[in-house]
């Protein structure tokens, strides 16, 4: 009896103890993941992240992605990219993968004419394909990049030199012309998305501001972790007006997608090898006008 009891206990111990340990480990890991995903980065963590040579990585990546790929290899390379990131090849203007000389050209591929319809009933339309990270009203000088994680409006747009409301002390109020409200919307473009962007409204850009900055990732995970992410990163800010007053349109660069091209602004050169703390201003004059859905620019690799 004792021998059979011993065997029974041994069986229970050898089967259930490892399963129990694994269960506890999984629960601990899930709890750690949940806590770390809800936690904001400390200043030292952001400083360490900014110290990484992401600009060099971005430029090297851009150089590599711009290399012409032999024609026989193109379907393999682009097919792999398309499968990995869920690219809808049927929407691309050229479905034949051999027609894109480089990965960078494939990345910035145009769409077939008429595949996207512009909603003329809406005052504001989506400027690109992507995921809505956040939107809403702006009641203070801090804007939410995702729920609960903010960045400074003044740091993001820079000093208000484009209108005559300088006597207003509050930065947010200085942007408003009438008894209106300030709104914001953030759209994230995933690697497989169409990477050209279009005008979001009928509007007139009058100023451009290029902020040299970091090239941190702007994935939703990082946006939830790093407060002030959009003030740190390199960005091209276009400022102007629409029927309802102030309007700004900003393209924010990222590690793998550090180059921003804007079709109406040939002087914009992003992802420079040397980082600068200064921003470059350009007056666009009053002659530029965009309608909803007009091509505005594109993100390019590196």
């Amino acid at each position: 009896e004792r021998t059979s009891d011993r065997f029974e206990w041994k069986g229970i111990l050898t089967r259930f103890v490892p399963v129990g340990i694994c269960l506890i480990a999984v629960m601990q890991w899930r709890s750690y993941r949940k806590k770390s995903s809800e936690r904001l980065a400390n200043k030292w963590e952001i400083d360490c992240y900014c110290m990484l040579p992401l600009r060099t990585v971005s430029r090297w990546w851009g150089w590599l992605a711009d290399k012409e790929i032999p024609e026989f290899l193109r379907p393999v390379v682009y097919g792999l990219y398309a499968n990995t990131f869920g690219v809808k090849l049927s929407e691309a203007l050229h479905e034949d993968l051999r027609s894109y000389p480089s990965l960078a050209d494939f990345f910035a591929r145009p769409l077939k004419s008429g595949i996207r319809q512009v909603d003329h009933e809406s005052d504001l339309v989506s400027p690109c394909d992507g995921t809505v990270l956040h939107f809403g009203t702006v009641h203070t000088g801090e804007i939410e990049q995702v729920k609960g994680v903010t960045y400074s409006l003044e740091k993001f747009l820079g000093e208000n030199t484009w209108n005559n409301n300088n006597n207003v002390k509050d930065y947010r109020t200085s942007l408003l012309h009438n008894a209106h409200t300030l709104y914001q919307c953030v759209i994230y473009l995933a690697p497989g998305d169409y990477h050209r962007f279009h005008s979001a409204a009928n509007w007139k850009p009058t100023h451009r501001r290029h902020f040299h900055g970091e090239l941190l990732s702007v994935s939703p995970r990082i946006a939830k972790w790093v407060p002030g992410l959009f003030c740190l990163n390199e960005r091209a800010v276009y400022l102007g007006s629409w029927d309802h007053g102030f309007f700004s349109y900003t393209a924010v660069g990222a590690t793998n997608v550090g180059t921003v091209k804007v079709y109406c602004d040939k002087t914009l050169h992003t992802n420079h090898p040397k980082k600068s703390d200064r921003c470059k201003d350009l007056c666009l004059g009053n002659g530029t006008y965009f309608k909803k859905g007009d091509p505005f620019g594109e993100f390019r690799m590196g």
């Binding site: 769409l111 909603d119 005052d123 504001l124 408003l176 102030f246 900003t250 924010v252």
Partner: protein, 32 residues
């Protein structure tokens, strides 16, 4: 890469999307 829009509009402006929504170029985001 990310596009950020900051704009002025009347108080009755309403977004017609939800956070996390997938949007396509030209799709309506909001109206007065």
């Amino acid at each position: 890469s990310t596009i950020v829009l900051v704009f002025e509009a009347p108080v009755n402006f309403q977004f017609t999307i939800l956070p996390g929504d997938r949007v396509q170029m030209g799709q309506g985001l909001g109206r007065v």
